[in-house]
Subunit: 250 residues, 2 copies
DNA sequence: CGATACATTGAGGTTTATCAATTTGTGTGG
DNA sequence: CCACACAAATTGATAAACCTCAATGTATCG
């Protein structure tokens, strides 16, 4: 369907860019155009910075657990974070994977309604909800931006529901690879060798399948030539058209 | 878990209430406290009324189809509406059932991302999106209300995703009955003999099951005494505790 | 380089889907 | 109000997709 690869600026350019920006870390943020922060004018960024704390976690670390009071919201700036819910007997449903630029907390009420765990090493901006609410109050664009994000996520949720309710294992895996590819592109990462930072088990818990079914299905896609594996966590899409057809149920 | 039954005002009281309200239909609207309209002051209601059109549909009528330009949004005031998406081979996923007070269109982009069809006879308030956006611009509370609704729906979508990804047929049916009961209560309808206006087929397409599995599962719940059927479309919950335990996966 | 977690592959079982028949419910016209 | 026709729901028998349990292979990280 596409094929053009938008590359992230290489480290050197990035450093120069940052250096040029003066003393506001937010102004130099790589993902500002993707994040909630894009709703604010350059001149209002200091207000945001005043209430923001940078945080980092290693792969496997827990950010918060379902049921905890949701005092903070976050904006992911690097890495991959997974959100999940558990049933009492241990069955797990991963409800989403988040990447750079994604906002964590829109769906949460007074308590977190899911747990969040780092898939890879991650960095995030943490905001106290209380303070952010206050700031939001004075910046209508910020609220508009959040409404826009919520509506977007709602539309994505519909697709996930269709997938879980009616798609076969083959269709789910194909949809998943394409989704990751499209999201990578959207945030300026390469969209063809597409990274799958999460484990097969995590993929299964996201797609409502077992690890084994995920593995077998990827093998089938590989043997058919539609995709190749560079490593277990890097997929080469050989025939995007075919993948789209499978994903959409033709 | 609960049991108290909040009854709708009977028709006579309703008529008197309406008569008392003067010349603003919105001010007398039964579901105003549930709908988006609750975001507006009494004094601003005329603005809303100026851009609103009342509509009604019979059971089975289509409100809009996936892919159409989404020029309107709606607020459902009576009856039940279903939203669904189709795969090319005809597999269908019902992504939601809407009742009085529910808003249609939050998730939609420039084109409707799902089709909408009346389950029962329905009445709705139609708004031209363009005009509503304009009005919204002047009424920050309206936007806040929409953001609140979107966040609420996002949280509900998480539960639906958990259900479709990880719950058994038995757990899905139990969750579904409880959800309908809770929503009925929330809008002031009886929460115990709980109405199921939709067909078994629709339920199946919502829960990612077939008609037959829905039917068999309801039969099992009936034979175990947990529920009874008044008619096919009215369920009596005999043991709510048990139903909750099943629904939550114990 | 070895230990450990992760991924793949295989054999067999379970749940739910599919196909088919029957019963029940609903709405319409006589 | 009843009889009929049609749609919806139920029930049964069989099949398929995916899960479970188990073994083997392969990255990854001290």
């Amino acid at each position: 369907m596409s094929g053009s690869e938008v590359q992230k600026p290489p480290p050197l350019a990035k450093a120069l860019y940052r250096a040029r920006q003066g003393d506001s870390p937010c102004a130099a943020c790589d993902v500002r155009h993707l994040a909630v922060c894009s709703a604010l004018e350059e001149s209002d960024l200091n207000e945001l910075e005043a209430i923001l704390h940078h945080t980092q976690l290693s792969a496997g670390d827990t950010l918060f657990d379902e049921g905890e009071p949701s005092t903070n919201v976050y904006n992911l700036t690097t890495g991959c974070l997974k959100l999940y819910k558990l049933l009492p007997d241990g069955r797990r449903q991963v409800t989403g994977f988040l990447f750079a630029g994604d906002f964590v907390g829109l769906a949460n009420r007074d308590e977190y309604i899911y747990s969040a765990e780092a898939v890879s090493a991650i960095t995030l901006c943490r905001f106290e909800k209380r303070k952010l609410d206050q700031l939001m109050h004075d910046h209508i664009n910020f609220e508009r931006r959040l409404l826009g994000m919520a509506r977007f996520e709602l539309a994505e949720a519909q697709d996930q529901i269709l997938m879980l309710g009616r798609k076969t294992a083959m269709e789910r895996i194909s949809s998943f690879i394409l989704m990751l590819s499209e999201r990578a592109k959207r945030r300026g990462d390469p969209d063809n060798p597409v990274g799958l930072p999460m484990s097969r088990n995590d993929i299964g818990d996201y797609l409502g399948l077992t690890t084994e079914t995920v593995s077998r299905t990827i093998t089938r896609l590989r043997k058919s030539g539609t995709i190749s594996l560079d490593t277990d966590h890097k997929v080469i899409i050989n025939d995007r058209e075919a993948l789209v057809e499978i994903a959409e149920g033709y």
